[in-house]
């Protein structure tokens, strides 16, 4: 799949990545992170993160959808009549999501089954529409790609962090490989997997912890 790598940003008479461009990518990683600061895309952060492998596929899929929908919408932003812009954005997003779904079904069928409805639900992931409406509708294609990359990377690291904790403590594995030795489960050691990690509520605790740590590092507070 070539969807994970974004096309080269096209820049005229500017250094490869100006300071402003770099900020487009780095800001969403922390200061305006879609999950921890804007609290968007929580549904999938809870649903797909019991194991790292489906989480990684989900992160790549969301990246593909965000980057390419940002690019397409930005390219046609001056042609879209403002009265129907939301439905046009939706059509672009749905197109990409269905494409991703079909590709997953053809090439990584088992993961596609694990993700089940959540691939389709990328359409409703607020991050996607949020970036289109807030950024791609008013910015050039190159910047929009960077914005898409930044935001999906911000989404990706949070869900991967959640999945790391959940798979490690919930099943003692990482990417399906056993990390906690079988011997620990013997009655004399008495180690057991944490069942809370396997249910969606477990993800809420982890997401909340990440939000807490990150907001206290960034000194971010909700505006009253």
């Amino acid at each position: 799949m070539s969807i994970a790598t974004a096309p080269e940003p096209v820049k005229e008479s500017k250094p490869l990545l100006s300071k402003k461009d770099r900020k487009l990518v780095t800001d969403p990683l922390s200061d305006s992170n879609p999950i921890t600061i804007q609290v968007l895309g929580i549904c999938s952060a809870l649903a797909v993160t019991t194991q790292l492998k489906p989480t990684l596929v989900m992160a790549i899929s969301v990246t593909a959808v965000v980057v390419f929908s940002n690019l397409i919408v930005s390219l046609i932003r001056n042609l879209i009549p403002s009265r129907i812009r939301i439905i046009v954005q939706l059509a672009v997003v749905s197109l990409l999501v269905i494409l991703v779904d079909e590709v997953l079904k053809a090439f990584v069928y088992d993961v596609s089954k694990q993700l089940s409805v959540f691939v389709g639900l990328i359409i409703t992931n607020c991050i996607v529409m949020g970036r289109l409406e807030a950024f791609a509708m008013g910015n050039k294609p190159g910047a929009s790609i960077l914005d898409g990359l930044g935001n999906s990377a911000g989404y990706a690291w949070v869900i991967l962090a959640v999945a790391f904790v959940r798979e490690l403590f919930g099943s003692g594995k990482l990417f399906g490989f056993r990390i906690v030795p079988e011997a620990f489960y013997a009655p004399e050691f008495g180690y057991v997997n944490n069942g809370l990690m396997m249910i969606p509520a477990g993800a809420l605790f982890i997401v909340a912890t990440i939000i807490w740590i990150q907001r206290s590092l960034n000194k971010y507070t909700e505006e009253a």
């Binding site: 649903a47 403002s82 249910i199």
Partner: protein, 234 residues
């Protein structure tokens, strides 16, 4: 210009056509790959109820499994292939038009001189189709194992029908009562004793899916009994 009605309609039309073209193009190109996956999954599902779960077993599907097609009177239909039958679709036609003739695929596994019948089932859950395979002992009564799957039931709720916890309950249940008449295995929320041979526990939060499984078992197992009883006597 950008806000004239003509432009808005024209733009919407152009977007729709483009999107439709791209989607149908992608679907056509990817279909062969997807169908291979579906076929492999189906073979693996069928083999899994008789315990053939090694990663390469599906390649030897034809050696392990003899497939037949049976009709409503329990006779073998010679000129049909079991894998060509789309059971869910046929059942839908039947529900609209009662005179539609149903044919069921039956897979027979033989090991150590003992036969296992593998029945195919198709039904509806909450969001879409559900299906499953059930291994029935030669006696035509004891369930050896059952597997279920679904198109898009809610993860954590209805989707639990394809977990070992749910499927495992079916082993050693009976589909006939003491007098030999068909009672199926019921998926129920009632309190029941663990060794009740005709009942298994439903999934909490997955009521509609559980009921779907229950109905599916009842409708589809029955269909095979005529054929199985006939071959018992021979």
């Amino acid at each position: 210009m950008l806000n004239s009605n003509t432009y808005v309609f024209g733009f919407a039309f152009a977007v729709t056509v483009l999107v439709a073209l791209m989607l149908s193009g992608a679907a056509t190109v990817l279909k062969p790959f997807q169908e291979q996956n579906f076929l492999k999954e189906k073979q693996e599902n069928i083999l899994s109820v008789v315990g053939k779960v090694a990663p390469d077993d599906y390649k030897k599907f034809d050696q392990y499994i003899k497939s037949v097609v049976i009709d409503e009177q329990g006779n073998e239909v010679k000129n049909m292939k079991a894998f060509d039958i789309n059971l869910a679709y046929d059942k839908k036609l039947k529900s609209k038009n009662p005179s539609h003739k149903l044919n069921y695929p039956l897979y027979i596994f033989e090991e150590g001189g003992k036969k296992t019948y593998i029945l195919q089932m198709a039904g509806v859950g909450l969001w879409g189709p559900i299906w499953g395979y059930l291994a029935l002992d030669e006696d035509g009564n004891t369930v050896k194992k059952a597997v279920f799957d679904h198109k898009g039931e809610t993860p954590g709720l209805g989707a639990e029908i394809n977990t070992d916890g749910f499927e495992g309950q079916f082993s050693n249940r009976k589909i006939l009562d003491e007098s030999g008449s068909f009672v199926s295995v019921q998926v129920t929320k009632e309190a029941k004793s663990d060794d009740d041979p005709h009942k298994v526990d439903a999934i909490s939060g997955g009521t509609i899916t559980s009921t779907g499984v229950s109905n599916m078992l009842k409708e589809d197992i029955q269909f095979y009994l005529t054929y199985i009883n006939k071959s018992k006597k021979v």
